[in-house]
C-alpha cells in the first residue's frame, strides 16, 4: 500500500476517481430539501402541551430549498406558503389556507432557499401550532404524522413545492424485561433486555435505583411499596445500550432497581416489574486480589541497574543523533 500511494501517477488517478465519485454527491447537495429544527420525533408529552407554555416545543426553524420556479427571472418576487398538512394531504395540490402557518414573498435573487421563522416580524413557532394547523389530535397510540409543506406560487397557482414529515409518537415502548443486578464495589451492575410487544422501540433507558424502606418485609424480593422513591436516583443512558454500572452507592445497603424504556420521542414505558434487589459489596481489583493471595510486589518504581543503564543509553543515542548531520 505504501508503494502504491507513493506513486505520483497512482495518486493522480486516485484523485481523479474521487472526483468522479464525488460528482453525484455534489449534485445531491443541490436537490430539494426541507428540514425542521429540531427534527423530532416528538412524544406524547410534546403533543399535549398547552400552546405557548413552557412545555410547548419551540421549532427554531423550518429550512427549505427548492429549484427556482420555472420561468422565474431576476427581480421576480414569488409568494410562498408554509403549511402543516394532515397525513395524506398532498403538498403539490393543497389549496386549503386554513393549514397555512405563514405566507410571505421570496425574491428571485435570494435563490431558492428559505427559512421560517426568519424575519424580524415572524413570531416564535411552536409544535402546538403545527399540530393545530394540521387539524391533528393527540389521541390513540399510532404515530401522528404531519406533513410540513412549502409551496411557491405563481399568482394563485402552485408552481413548486417541497415537503417533509414530522412524527409524533403517541405510544410508549414496552417495559424492559430480564433485569439482572450484580453487586459491585459501591455500585450495582445492571443489565436488561428490551421488552417485547411495544409499538415503538426504546431509544434509551432510564435506570432507577431506590433504597429500600426499613419497613420492607421482603428486601430480597422487594415490592414497589418497599421502594424509597423520594430518595431514588436515576440515570438515563444516551443510547439503547442494555447495561449500566450504577455507581456512587453504599456497600451493604439494600436497593431496588427498575428500568424504563424511553422512545425516541421521549415516551416512558412502564417500569420493569417487579423491582430487583441489589446490594453493593466490597470487590477486590487485581492489585488487591494479588495482595490477598500473598503477592509481594509493593508498587512504585523498581530498583536495579536497568533504569540507570536505560537512561545512559538513551542519552548516548540522543547525543549520537545530534552529532551526525
Amino acid at each position: 500500500m505504501a508503494f502504491a500511494l507513493h506513486s505520483s501517477g497512482a495518486m493522480l488517478r486516485c484523485f481523479s476517481l474521487l472526483a468522479v465519485l464525488a460528482a453525484p454527491l455534489v449534485g445531491l447537495a443541490q436537490t430539494a430539501s426541507l428540514t425542521l429544527t429540531p427534527p423530532g420525533p416528538f412524544g406524547r408529552a410534546d403533543c399535549g402541551a398547552v400552546a405557548g407554555s413552557a412545555d410547548d416545543v419551540q421549532i427554531s426553524s423550518i429550512d427549505w430549498q427548492v429549484a427556482p420556479p420555472s420561468g422565474s427571472l431576476p427581480g421576480t418576487d414569488w409568494t410562498y406558503k408554509v403549511k402543516a398538512l394532515p397525513s395524506g394531504v398532498n403538498c403539490t395540490t393543497d389549496g386549503d389556507d386554513t393549514n397555512m402557518i405563514n405566507q410571505s414573498t421570496l425574491h428571485w435573487s435570494t435563490g431558492s432557499k428559505g427559512s421560517y421563522p426568519g424575519g424580524s416580524t415572524d413570531g416564535a413557532l411552536f409544535l402546538s401550532k403545527i399540530i393545530s394547523k394540521s387539524k391533528s389530535v393527540c389521541t390513540g397510540t399510532s404515530d401522528l404524522i404531519i406533513t410540513v409543506c412549502v409551496q411557491l406560487l405563481s399568482g394563485s397557482t402552485i408552481n413548486t413545492s417541497i415537503s417533509s414529515t414530522v412524527t409524533i409518537q403517541l405510544a410508549p415502548p414496552a417495559a424492559p424485561t430480564g433485569v439482572v443486578v450484580a453487586p459491585g464495589m459501591e455500585a450495582l451492575n445492571v443489565s436488561w433486555s428490551e421488552g417485547s410487544g411495544g409499538s415503538v422501540a426504546s431509544a434509551k433507558y432510564r435506570v432507577e435505583v431506590s433504597p429500600l424502606l426499613a419497613t420492607c418485609a421482603t428486601p430480597l424480593a422487594p415490592t414497589v411499596a418497599c421502594l424509597d422513591l423520594p430518595n431514588a436516583r436515576t440515570y438515563t443512558t444516551p443510547t439503547a445500550t442494555t447495561s449500566y454500572r450504577f455507581g456512587g452507592l453504599v456497600n451493604g445497603t439494600d436497593y431496588g432497581v427498575r428500568v424504563y424504556g424511553i422512545s425516541a420521542g421521549g415516551n416512558d414505558s412502564l417500569p420493569s416489574a417487579p423491582p430487583v434487589h441489589g446490594q453493593p459489596v466490597p470487590v477486590n481489583d487485581f492489585w488487591q486480589q494479588y495482595q490477598a493471595q500473598g503477592g509481594l510486589e509493593t508498587g512504585g518504581c523498581g530498583g536495579g541497574p536497568a533504569g540507570l543503564v536505560s537512561l545512559l543509553t538513551l542519552a548516548g543515542l540522543a547525543l549520537g543523533l545530534r552529532r551526525r548531520p
Partner: protein, 238 residues
Amino acid sequence: MSRLVLAAALLGAALAPPARAADPADRSEGGTGSVELRVGNYRPSIDAEPGLKGSPLPYQRAFGGGRPTSFKLHMAKALPWRAAGAIELGAGVGYWTAKGHGSLLSGDPSTDPTTFSIVPLEVTATWRLDLVWERLGVPLVPYARASLQRYNWWITGSSGSTSKSGATNGYGYGGGLALVLDFLDPTLARELQADSGIRHTMLTVDLQQTKVDDFGSKTSFDLSDTKATLSLGLLFVF
C-alpha cells in the same frame, strides 16, 4: 537454528526474481537507522511468583488464560561501523493492557472491571545481517537483538481509577527474520527511497525472550512473558 536460517535463505533465493542480480542498485549497503512497528501478544508470569497461594492464582483469576495483544514502536540508529550487516542502537515504547474482572471477598468473580496495563520501554542493540540481501540478493534477513526493559505498569479497579502503579526492570534477547519487500517491486522501492529515504521495507517475525522481574527481586512482579514473545512487524530501514 542454523538449519532454519539456511532453509529461510533458500526460500528467499527461490522467491527472488532473476532480475535481482542484474539490478544491484537497490541493494546498496549502509543506512542510517530504522523504524519498526510490531504487533504481538503477551502474558506476564505473575502467577509463577513464589509465595502466591490459592486457586486460581491472581492473574488467572482476574484475566483468565488469554494473551492480550501488544503493540510496540521501535526506532534505532545505525552505528558507523558494520559487521556483515547493520549494528543498531535503539529505543522502543509499547502498550499492552489486559481487561478482566474483580473478585468478591468470597473469591467468587465479580462483574466489576479491573485492568492491568503496561507501557514497556526498551533500549536495544540489534545486529541485522543485511548482507544476505545486499550482497546475495536473498530477501530474508536474520537479525539478533538484546535489550534492557523497563515495564511501567498500572492497575485500575472497579471505578476505573488507578489503584496501584509501578515499574519493573529486566532484559530481553532474541531475534527474528525480516522479509525484504523490495524484491516485489524494485522500481517502486527505488522511488520510495528517492522520495522518502526509506531504503528497505521489511516484514519481520520476531521472537523475544524476556526476563522482567527487577533482576530476580522477590518483592517485584514477574513480568517476564510466560513464553517467548512472538510478534509480527513492519520495519523501515533508512
